[in-house]
Every structure is written in structure tokens, then in C-alpha cells.
């Protein structure tokens, strides 16, 4: 969009978000969906009470990274857990009039205490400001419908407008089936927003977490300037069941895991949860637009 005024364009397509007027401080989220806190589901070693909280929900013996909720991740990733949410009030409707979708949504909202499968906002990491969106697998499998697409898009465009880097923590089972074509179109919308961010010369970082599939992988989650993944996360386009159904054979060990993607050349690095904050901070620092050119 050379020579056309991207700033004016951004203003036209999305409202300006309010500044730092009402930040939320992420507290301990009791709804982390670790069902059994007594032992690790991978190595079956026993866990002491409160041990997981201290290790950022990583098994101390086998390094299994438990799935966690957005607010829990925000709490230990950003400075002081201070998070200025954007687009907090955007909520799903039922565009196809799909039976039981409304009921399912309100039930999930009650259960998770969230309004949708992503939380987006402004925050700081080691005192550097950024826009961050964190997805939630416990909200309808982290599926992307209109709201997830819209909130991720707003996060990206807010980055473009405020000249801030954008970070997304991805986890998703894929598209929100109940929204049909609308959910498919979110892939195009979010990817287009990234084209606008790129034009401004701003960086986009992705952290893939367990699991990330379908329409999310095949759009913004694979478009990072730098793409990181937590260890052993399952990441792919089609789910293992679908692939096994197509080829009628068992999948090899480690297929679609972070390390597999690293080997195949589709992600930059596998980073343990305890190192993510430092890594992101380093990336943001090294991607600062240099003043007056090189």
C-alpha cells in the first residue's frame, strides 16, 4: 500500500483502542486445566502440592509442559502481570443459527470465566512495550471463530498503529465449526492484518504451544518473523486421526511435535517455558526499528 497512508487506512478499519487507562493485573488463575495435579501424565512421577505452580506448570522430572490458561501465562510472562486488554467486550454471536451453539458458548463462558478463546492486550516484557494475544485451549478447544479472528486482528493492527511488536501465543484445535464460512474467512483476515503490520516494518513473533492445529496453524501462527515453540507441543494442519484415516497407517513417533517441525525447517527454535520471557525480550530488543537507517 505504498504511498497511500497506512495510518489513515488503519483508522478506517479499526477503532482506536484506549490507552493504559484500566490495566488488569493477572492473578493466579485457579482454572488452569491440570486435572490431576498429583502426578505427571507423561512420566507418571508424583508431584508435590504446589510444585507445578513453582515450575510454571512444567514437570520437574520429564519437562512435560502442561497446558495453561491465558491469564496464568500472562501472570508469569509480562512485567508485574499488568495487562491492558483490548477488544475485551467483543463477543460471539451465532451467524449460522447453529443449534445449541449459544448454549455451548454461555456454558463455556461460565466454566472458564473468559468471553472467548483469546485474550489480547498491551503489556511490557522487561520494560519493553508490546501487543500480545494469548489463546485458550480450554475455551471450545481454542477454536477460531469470528471473535478470535477479530481480536487477533485488532492486536496486530494495534501493533501497527502504536508501532509496537506483536506476540501471539497460539493454541487451537482449528476452526470454530459452528461458524462455518465465517471461521474460514478469519484465516484470510488475520493474514491480511499481518501484511499491513509488515508494511510498517514491525515484527511479529509466534510461540506455538500444545496443541496448535488447523485454521490457526494455516494462517497467522505460521507467519511469524520468528516462530518459537514450547517443547513437545503438537503442531500441524490436519489432526492425527484425520491423517491416519487418509493413509490408513499409524503415524510415526514424534510426528507433528515441535522437534519434528524444527527438523523439517518450519520453526526457528524450541524454547522451554522458563526461558520464553527472556527470549521474547531479546527478540523485541533486536527487532527495534533503527533510527535513521543502518
Amino acid at each position: 500500500m505504498i504511498g497511500f497512508g497506512l495510518g489513515r487506512f488503519l483508522k478506517k478499519i479499526r477503532p482506536r483502542e484506549r490507552g493504559w487507562d484500566d490495566p488488569k493485573i493477572a492473578g493466579r488463575d485457579e482454572r488452569i486445566f491440570v486435572e490431576n495435579k498429583k502426578s505427571c501424565p507423561v512420566c507418571h512421577k508424583g508431584l508435590e502440592e504446589g510444585e507445578l505452580e513453582r515450575t510454571l506448570y512444567v514437570c520437574p522430572s520429564c519437562k512435560h509442559h502442561f497446558r495453561i490458561t491465558p491469564w496464568e501465562r500472562i501472570r508469569f510472562t509480562v512485567d508485574g502481570g499488568v495487562f491492558q486488554e483490548i477488544a475485551a467486550k467483543v463477543e460471539s454471536v451465532n451467524p449460522l443459527n447453529f443449534p445449541d451453539y449459544d448454549a455451548k458458548l454461555s456454558e463455556t463462558k461460565d466454566k472458564t470465566g473468559m468471553t472467548e478463546a483469546v485474550v489480547a492486550g498491551r503489556c511490557k516484557i522487561e520494560n519493553r512495550e508490546l501487543v500480545m494475544a494469548v489463546m485458550a485451549f480450554n475455551f471450545m478447544g481454542g477454536s477460531m471463530g469470528s471473535v478470535v479472528g477479530e481480536k487477533v486482528t485488532r492486536a496486530i493492527l494495534e501493533g501497527a498503529r502504536q508501532e509496537l511488536p506483536v506476540v501471539v501465543f497460539a493454541t487451537s484445535g482449528g476452526a470454530r465449526m459452528q461458524e462455518g464460512i465465517f471461521s474460514l474467512m478469519q484465516m484470510a483476515k488475520t493474514s491480511n492484518a499481518l501484511a499491513l503490520l509488515e508494511e510498517k516494518g514491525l515484527p511479529f513473533f509466534v510461540v506455538l504451544t500444545d496443541p496448535t492445529y488447523g485454521g490457526v496453524t494455516a494462517s497467522f501462527a505460521m507467519l511469524g518473523d520468528v516462530t518459537l515453540a514450547e517443547p513437545e507441543a503438537s503442531i500441524g494442519f490436519a489432526g492425527p486421526r484425520v491423517i491416519e484415516g487418509t493413509i490408513r497407517q499409524k503415524l510415526p513417533e514424534g510426528f507433528q511435535r515441535s522437534e519434528f517441525l524444527l527438523q523439517k525447517g518450519f520453526i526457528d527454535a524450541v524454547v522451554e517455558r522458563k526461558d520464553l520471557r527472556r527470549t521474547l525480550s531479546f527478540l523485541i530488543e533486536t527487532h527495534q526499528p533503527s533510527e535513521g537507517g543502518l
Binding site: 500500500m1 505504498i2 504511498g3 487506512f9 478506517k12 478499519i13 479499526r14 467486550k89 467483543v90 463477543e91 460471539s92 454471536v93 451467524p95 449460522l96 447453529f98 469470528s146 471473535v147 479472528g149 477479530e150 486482528t153 476452526a175 465449526m177 459452528q178 461458524e179 462455518g180 464460512i181 465465517f182 474460514l184 474467512m185 484465516m187 484470510a188 483476515k189 493474514s191 491480511n192 492484518a193 499481518l194 501484511a195 499491513l196 488447523g214 485454521g215 494455516a218 494462517s219 497467522f220 501462527a221 505460521m222 507467519l223 500441524g236 494442519f237 490436519a238 484425520v242 491423517i243 487418509t246 493413509i247 503415524l251 510415526p252 510426528f255 507433528q256 523439517k264 525447517g265 518450519f266
Partner: protein, 321 residues
């Protein structure tokens, strides 16, 4: 015209013909057929899915043959392979050079195996992007034809980054500096469809289908039972009229009674008219305008609710109350 109205007209016509001894049996039988099978009858979504999958339904190459004067197929993604599930090349539309890209299913079993039933692997999407970028370099409009069950879900696909290939296409096509016109001609399911489905104008054949996943996939995810595909199809809002009402597509191209395969020449002629119309409009726009309008189009898609923040009038804010 509603069904009952047509039926009524038909009875009138018949009695008129009898009274005046006119030979209009051909017209009458045409109308009767229309009433039974054609678009005047309220067609169920599943019927359209079946028509979209009809083995004789014309595909990308059938349309290319009928619409363009000359066509040369170009192959390969310049990285590893050529994917026959997506065909592409340069064609002459009248005297205007255009780039054409589309999914291609097989016309028989042998060809279907070679073309993987029109299910593209990463190489297919990368070839499409290469051709689109080549079109951009030489300022040629791009025409795409969508007809796929989806991107291929297999080990090879995942190993070579099917997600990355689709994602990159979405981003690059959305900011391509030449006009793109898309036609959904048959099945349009999932990332496989949208991977070459971003354009300035998008048209759908009357019996084509477009949704996030195939009815079988939908049924197996939501109902855990792929055999309930028929039921899923009715809920998915995947027909051309649905998509038009959602503003996802710009228009419907009507097919001959009984489906596109009953008269491919007729269907191709209609598509040809639409291409001429769209290009006459889009070729007037500057590259900046094209990219901006395409962005606007994508950015406004989405169904959600957001309560407006109450904005107090500034006088009220100053003086209270």
C-alpha cells in the same frame, strides 16, 4: 417465482395449448423439468453438494479450454515438485493476457489418482503463489478456479509444511498488486479452497459449495459420525445463496437446469461474461486501490457483538448530568 406459481402457470399453459391447438409441448416439458429438478425447485443443500461433486462436472481445464483463446500450462513450484492437483498458466482472454490458476480433479480414475482428487499438497499452493507473483511482475490479472475437497491431509503434506504454504498464500494474495477474480466452480472446502481463494471479486456457481470443511469432516468433528454428512450440509449454510447473503461472494453464476455438466459450454459462456465484466472494472483501479479495497473487504468479515461504549457529550462531561 415460487414453485406453486410455476405449477399454476403450467396448468394454464396446458389448457391454453389444448384450446388453441398450439404445439408447445417442448416448452411445457422444459418447464415441468425445471419444476422437478431445476433451480426453481427449492434445492436442498445436500443436493447441491451432490451436484458439486458430480463426476461429469466441468473442472478448471474444461473452463480454460472454453473461455480462453490460448493457454500454456506452467509447472512446478521451483522448490521441489509439480503438484498436478493445481494447474496454472498464462492465457489470452480476448486479447488480454491473464494468469489462470485452479484446482483440477481427475476426469477418470487414473487421472484422479495422478491429480490426488484435486487435493493439493504444499507444492501446489507454492506453485500458485509463484504464478501469482509472476503475474504481478508483468501486471497481468489473475483468475482462479476453486474446486477441491480440501488440502491433502497426509504425512508428506505435513512434512513439507502445508500450513505454512496456505498461510503464506493468504498473506501474499491479500496484498497482490494486480486484480484477482475467483470462481468457486465445484467444491470449496477448508484451507485448500481459500489457499487460492482470496480475490477482489469472488463468484460462485449456482450449485457450488463453500465452507470451512466438507460436510463429512464437519459431521465427524461435531457429531463424531461422518455418515451424518447430509444432516451437516443442511446446517452449514454452504450454498451459493447463503454465501451471497453473508456478503462473502459477490454474485451467483446460474447453471443450466440439472447442473453445470448438462451444458458446459453454456456455463463457460456465463463465466466468460463475468470475467469480462469484472476485469473491465478492476483493471481501472490503481495497484494501491486494489490492495486497499481487498484489505477492506477482508477486514470487515466477521460476525460478532460489541457493546458500544457510551460516549457522553462533552458538554455533559463538563457540566455533569
Amino acid at each position: 417465482m415460487k414453485n406453486q406459481d410455476v405449477a399454476k402457470k403450467l396448468v394454464e399453459l396446458k389448457s391454453l395449448a389444448e384450446r388453441d391447438r398450439l404445439d408447445i409441448t417442448e416448452d411445457i416439458s422444459r418447464l415441468e423439468e425445471k419444476l422437478k429438478t431445476g433451480r426453481l425447485a427449492t434445492s436442498t443443500a445436500w443436493k447441491r453438494v451432490e451436484l458439486a461433486r458430480h463426476p461429469d462436472r466441468p473442472g478448471t481445464l474444461d473452463y480454460i479450454e472454453r473461455i480462453f483463446n490460448e493457454f500454456i500450462e506452467l509447472h512446478g513450484d521451483r522448490l521441489s515438485a509439480d503438484d498436478p492437483a493445481i494447474v496454472g498458466g498464462i492465457a489470452l482472454f480476448g486479447s488480454q493476457a491473464v494468469t489462470v490458476i485452479g484446482h483440477q480433479k481427475g476426469r477418470n480414475m487414473k487421472e484422479n489418482i495422478r491429480r490426488n482428487y484435486g487435493m493439493a499438497q504444499p507444492e501446489g499452493f507454492r506453485k500458485a503463489l509463484r504464478l501469482a507473483k509472476e503475474a504481478e511482475k508483468f501486471k497481468r490479472p489473475v483468475i482462479t478456479f476453486i474446486d477441491t475437497q480440501g488440502a491433502f491431509p497426509g504425512i508428506s503434506s505435513e512434512e513439507r509444511g502445508i500450513s505454512e504454504a496456505i498461510a503464506r498464500n493468504l498473506k501474499e494474495f491479500s496484498s497482490l498488486k494486480v486484480p484477482i477474480v475467483c470462481f468457486i466452480i465445484g467444491e470449496g472446502w477448508s484451507g485448500g479452497a481459500i489457499g487460492i481463494g482470496i480475490g477482489d471479486e469472488i463468484y460462485m456457481l449456482e450449485n457450488a459449495c463453500y465452507s470451512v470443511i466438507s460436510p463429512e469432516g464437519f459431521a465427524s468433528i461435531l457429531f463424531r459420525d461422518p455418515s451424518r454428512a447430509k444432516q451437516a450440509a443442511e446446517l452449514m449454510k454452504l450454498t451459493a445463496p447463503d454465501l451471497l447473503s453473508f456478503d462473502i461472494v459477490d454474485g451467483i453464476i446460474y447453471e443450466p437446469v440439472g447442473g453445470a455438466h448438462t451444458d458446459p459450454d453454456f456455463t463457460a459462456a456465463k463465466i466468460k461474461l463475468q470475467i469480462a465484466d469484472s476485469l473491465s472494472r478492476l483493471c481501472l483501479k490503481s495497484p494501491q486501490m486494489l490492495v486497499r479495497d481487498r484489505s477492506l473487504r477482508l477486514q470487515k468479515i466477521g460476525a460478532f457483538a460489541e457493546p458500544r461504549e457510551k460516549r457522553q457529550h462533552f458538554l455533559k462531561r463538563l457540566f455533569g448530568g
